[in-house]
């Protein structure tokens, strides 16, 4: 079908068409950027944790009384936890993964303090941590029980460390890291004895240290407050939580068990802003596209009603129903296209504003394409109903009112 008569009809009645075109443009600009943000947040929320997250329980114990004995209490706690039916493994763990809280330190591959520093999440654990988290040894060996220092004299780099796969890549690239040294910024040296499969560390959103960059020290802490990670057998987690709280409170003088929580607690808290953004943006995108679709329906209905006589005349002159329907589909297609081109420009502008205001990466063209396609399909679907009504106008209309 020739588009020239459709175009000139549109241009004769500009206002309504311009209004819908602008709606399409704004909608495109917003949803292209919204799709991009939603995709990034979904990727973040669904990033693999690398550990047996669904079965992990974390416990915090806080010594406070003068009679409190840190090392003895920890030893007794771990013996109790490991002997509980339903527990696969347990270990001390200085911080909770993905909790947005923890400790980080800089590591170097040379004793020269001017050498480049790689930051990593430091986790203080004991030799059982691989089983307790459900991690795999990728290279080298595990800590031996006699290498664990329950009460270190200070927080210096210990002589032996294990590191995550990501950290090994950062420090030594593709070369094997086992047996190689790491240094702290004071020039103290440690040796990498093993490489562990990746899990998300304390700060899943961070760039420095990267989310999977972890260095494990086989040390107990300096304070009187400590945490344990307990891995439950499948289906036993929720039963174990109150049990652990009760049993631990029965032993150890001068200490309080401050909390016993599933890993989910932190996942919900840490990713709450991202889930919120996903919900908010999805809702706004749905509302916006619905309103735009209704605008398209409204304009097309108005056009159909205003042109009943012309449509009847065309039908009387031999146009088929399909011709009438096609007319409106093409009219909407032209309109959407104009809106989409304007909207694409707007989307780039909006993305530029976002990039400068929030340091977000630039909007990839794919998202504009996706949003454009979605709006094109939506427009055609929205116009279908009024177009079919136009197709149903009888040729007799042409004779009746003249």
């Amino acid at each position: 079908m020739d588009i020239r008569p459709i175009l000139s009809a549109l241009l004769r009645n500009r206002t309504g068409a311009v209004l819908v075109g602008v709606q399409v443009a704004i909608t495109l600009a917003v949803i292209a950027n919204a799709f991009f943000v939603i995709a990034k947040r979904l990727e973040l929320v669904h990033r693999p944790s690398g550990n047996d997250s669904a079965n992990l329980i974390f416990v915090q114990s806080e010594g406070y009384g003068p009679e409190y004995q840190h090392v003895a209490t920890m030893r007794a706690d771990l013996a109790l936890l490991r002997a509980l039916p339903g527990v696969v493994a347990a270990a001390p763990s200085s911080s909770v993964p993905e909790s947005d809280g923890g400790s980080s330190s800089g590591y170097l591959t040379s004793p020269d303090p001017k050498a480049p520093v790689t930051n990593a999440n430091v986790m203080e654990v004991d030799p059982a941590f691989l089983d307790a988290y459900g991690l795999k040894l990728v290279a080298g060996r595990k800590f031996r029980p006699e290498e664990y220092v329950a009460e270190p004299a200070n927080n210096d780099l210990p002589p032996l460390v294990m590191i995550s796969e990501s950290m090994a890549k950062r420090l030594y690239g593709d070369a094997p890291a086992v047996g190689r040294p790491v240094y702290d910024n004071g020039g103290k040296q440690g040796t990498i004895i093993g490489v562990v499969s990746d899990m998300l560390g304390s700060w899943p959103r961070n760039v420095r240290p990267g989310p999977y960059d972890i260095v494990y020290h086989a040390t107990g802490g300096l304070g009187r407050s400590w945490r344990y990670v307990v891995r439950a057998r499948l289906g036993e987690r929720d039963r174990l939580i109150p049990e652990i709280e009760k049993r631990l409170n029965e032993i150890g003088n001068g200490r309080a068990v401050t909390w016993v929580r599933p890993h989910d607690f932190w996942l919900l808290r840490t990713f709450r802003p991202d889930r919120r953004m996903i919900v908010f943006l999805t809702t706004l995108v749905v509302m916006m596209t619905s309103v735009t679709a209704l605008g398209i329906v409204g304009l097309a209905t108005f056009h159909v009603n205003a042109r009943r006589k012309q449509i009847g005349t065309r039908r009387a002159l031999g146009a088929r129903r399909a011709d009438i329907v096609h007319y409106f589909l093409i009219e909407n297609g032209l309109l959407s296209l104009a809106g989409i081109v304007t909207g694409a420009l707007l989307a780039w502008a909006a993305s530029g504003w976002l990039a400068s205001a929030f340091q977000t990466p630039p909007l990839p063209a794919g998202y504009v394409g996706l949003a454009a396609l979605a709006l094109l399909v939506l427009g055609q679907l929205a116009v279908l109903w009024p177009a079919r009504r136009a197709g149903a106008i009888e040729p007799a209309v042409a004779t009746r009112t003249l």
């Binding site: 943000v37 309080a256 943006l281 605008g295 205001a357």
Partner: protein, 437 residues
Amino acid sequence: MLGYYLKLAWLSLARTPAITALMIGAIALGIGATTTTLTVYHRMSANPIPARSSVLHAVTIDSWSPDRPADDENPADPPPQLTYRDALAVAAGAPAARTVIMRKTAMTVDPGAGRAPFLIEARLATRDFFPMFAVPFAYGGGWDAAADRGGEPVVVLSRETNERLFGGENSVGRSVRIDGREFRVSGVLADWQPTPKFYDLNNGAYDTAEDAFLPFALGAALELQPAGNVNCWKPETLAGLRDLLGSECVWIQLWADLPTAADVERYQAWLDGYVAEQKRLGRFARPSNNRLYDVEAWLRHNEVVGQDSRMLLAVAFAFLAVCILNVVGLLLSRFLGSAGASAVRRALGASRGELFRQHLVEVGLVGAIAGLGGLVLGWAGLKAVEQLYSSYDRLTQLDLTMVLAAIGLAVLAGVLAGLYPAWRICRVQPAAYLKTQ
């Protein structure tokens, strides 16, 4: 005349209930979405202490590493906290009406009587904390200068902690067992929850206020471990709190009361002098970079209003714009659809102005109903998003300002949507329509 216009408007709206509902629905949705996001944004950016916000100043000095800035992403900024020794020196020497140095710690309260001990967050602060931040007391008050110097075992409890320990009664003078020691209650706070928690943003701007407040000097005397952020750059052996006190780690917050611009200038000069003197002693290897921020500047500097809420606000306004455009289109087709009736009214003597007013009344009616609908939707939206926010549901309460803003927005939206269609319809040539009747 208004009554007649209203009747005409009502008849016209009732004639096409579907389109009327669509128009009202579109504006109401737009207003609802905008009200929801605007309320959260408004709450987030609210000034938590308007009466004192220009007097209070957060103090920062750049004591960081010679090799790299404290924050790689904002290399010009000094670290947000101070070292222990600098905090003590500045608080003792710098010329301010009042100064507070403080930090956060965790302590265990033993309520006795067979009840389980529980962990509290405590703020260790010097006594001016309470008057400087206008902290309201329900009973008693802070402590005296002797307690600040000697680190006497006194404590100020939050309302919740007092509720938990003493059932909410006046507990001033009574004793609480904390970390295995007896502390005397010197005061109990009334409800106090500054949002955002401007005085210490290190653990999140919407962190809750502490459960108890104790003299700063107790921290060193009892070797209380920090519970807030501690950031270090220098290779130093840290075997315990003693080492931390002497280290280059930053972990102490310092605020000063500086009522006039001259006070700020004098304070700044003193800080610059202090850093110059420390440089001679071999510390402060970075360029001298000491900054004072009043409360609003501090909140801006720490980007308290998240990017997410700003982005949502922009999206919500774009949505409102789409809704308004939509209603313009619908009104236009309605008005032009009933152009015959308007033409008859013109022919019978109605002026353009009268027609314009008549249509504006119709638009106004739509706007008013949609505004009310938008308020209800906004309120429902806030209820719905409440669970998406954590403890700080104070962010999702509709207040009078927001109700007025929503009504204002609805009226504005209605007028914006209605002006052009009303203008178009009163310029219709009556003859063109009368001919075909």
